[in-house]
Amino acid sequence: MNVLITGASGGLGRALTIECARRGYHLFLTDINKTGLESLRNGVERQFPVVVATMACDLTDDTDVDRLLAHLDTYGIQFDMLLNVAGLDFEGGFLEQSRKNVLTIVSLNICATLRITHAILSRRAIGKSFSLVFVSSLASQYPIPLKATYAASKRFLLDFAYALGEELKNRHVHVLAVCPGGLVTTRDAMDGIKAQGIWGDMTTNRIEVVTRNTIDRALAGKLVYIPGIANRILSLFGHLLPRTFITMVLYKRWTRSQGKWLDIGA
């Protein structure tokens, strides 16, 4: 099994990499962070008997992605699974962020994901089953003031996954969207979760459980995975309550925790 993972040297990317290596899958890892990729390749190779190849790449840059693809084609690598992990968010309201940052969210979370997905689907092993995973977010379940761009970008991935899954189901491609709540991926993330108090503890998912279930569900051909009971209940509210009411509640909640988050971070 050959797996390509984007955003591999971030917290979730690393955990998925370890999960796949433990299952004996061969890995092609990419990320914009070259040093992180090298450290991760070392860590995996010292622990598991799998082949790990890496290449740093800025997925928002067409030329850089072409370079990555040329590299794959030189070796004729075909894939059985693609894990779209690369994504980001910037803290702060829409007007408080720079225009560049707002567009980077869309450029990476949406455009870059489509770019690499299209390219890797064209390089899948024909006649074999292919698993395509999008890391969406619990934020895809409702519009979120103060995280408006991020939440909408994750909604895009969720809707796209549903539609593409239907489109490709007779072509041996299974599409899964994963919608995790908080994940402890960085020191900032830990501070952010702590700032949310009991909410943070409740909606935070255990990353090692999410990664294991993600691969299990991708292999089983599931469509959507929302980890944790608390998050599934929150998601249900998202479907039942009027969107205007949800945005009002969420605005209050994020105003409070962003303030605390900035305090802890300082």
């Binding site: 991760l40 070392n42 860590g43 010292r46 991926t185 935070t204």
Partner: protein, 284 residues
């Protein structure tokens, strides 16, 4: 002037050891997490011993890249200023996590910080400790008892439990101590592991969730001040004669878990060498 290197030296037990040994006339090299905390600790240690020498450097020791960087930076200083000798290396840095989280290598953070960081730093500084016929002291804990090493999943990725990960990492400290003595005892090196007891530090409040943080905030009220366990480190580092045994609490030798065997110690040592991509035999 004898040199002592302490990791996790900018707060809690590490800072108390730094202050204590600086007052005893040792040159203290402290390693801490941030530049800011290093400057603050430097001032504190300097204030307690205005005539002494101390140096604080920042490094995120759970990342192996950072351990190598700090060792690269310290080596010329040790050679030029400290006469190529390190009297004691105190691997004190440690942390608690509420969740499974990984380092850049994809290693579980408690295992990486509490065990591998000390393992790797010791290997880098071993020639200088041996040159001084010096000592290596690990901050372990009595909580190492009642657990065994999960050899088939040492990062506990399959069944993560924060407390178990902590306890296992503290058992690793003892196993490493034992193996250091077996390998280098005949060359004059002595390694010790300390159980500091329950101490009023912020270990459970850093990078943990609100539940763990709350529980620790209550629990630590029953702890002693960091200056109390600092006396045990002082005892182990400053006695002319090597104190016997290798596991200490309150300046007295203690009994340790029956998991601390030569077999386990050798096995962990070999695994740690592989995970750090080093060979201890390289030093001479």
């Amino acid at each position: 002037m004898k040199t002592i290197i302490i990791t996790g030296a900018t707060s809690g037990i590490g800072l108390a050891i730094a202050t204590t040994l600086a007052m005893d006339g040792y040159r203290v090299i402290g390693i801490g997490h941030s530049e800011q905390s290093c400057r603050k600790a430097e001032q504190l240690v300097h204030a307690s011993d205005p005539t002494g020498e101390c140096l604080f450097k920042a490094a995120d020791l759970m990342q192996q890249r950072e351990v190598h960087r700090i060792a690269d930076e310290l080596e010329p200083y040790i050679v030029q200023t400290c006469g190529g000798k390190v009297h004691a290396l105190i691997n004190n840095v440690g942390g608690v996590r509420s969740w499974y989280a990984t380092t850049e290598e994809g290693y579980e953070q408690q295992f990486a910080l509490n065990h591998l960081a000390g393992f790797l730093l010791t290997s880098r500084l071993l020639p200088y400790v041996l040159a001084a016929r010096g000592r290596v002291v690990m901050t372990s804990s009595n909580s190492h008892k009642g657990v065994s090493i999960h050899w088939d999943d040492i990062m506990l990725e399959r069944s993560y439990n924060p407390l178990l990960a902590y306890k296992q990492s503290k058992l690793c400290n003892l196993l490493f101590t034992k193996e250091l003595n077996s390998r280098y005892g005949s060359l004059g090196l002595r390694a010790y592991a300390v159980d500091p007891g329950l101490v009023q530090t912020d270990i459970g409040n850093k990078q943990t969730g609100s539940m763990v943080s709350l529980i620790w905030s209550i629990r630590k009220r029953f702890g002693v001040a960091p200056s109390i366990p600092a006396q045990t480190y002082r005892y182990l580092c400053t006695q002319q004669e090597y104190p016997s045994g290798f596991y200490y609490y309150g300046c007295k030798e203690q009994s340790y878990s029956h998991q601390v065997t030569d077999d386990n110690a050798r096995r962990l040592f070999a695994l740690s060498e592989r995970l750090c991509a080093i060979t201890y035999g390289d030093v001479s």
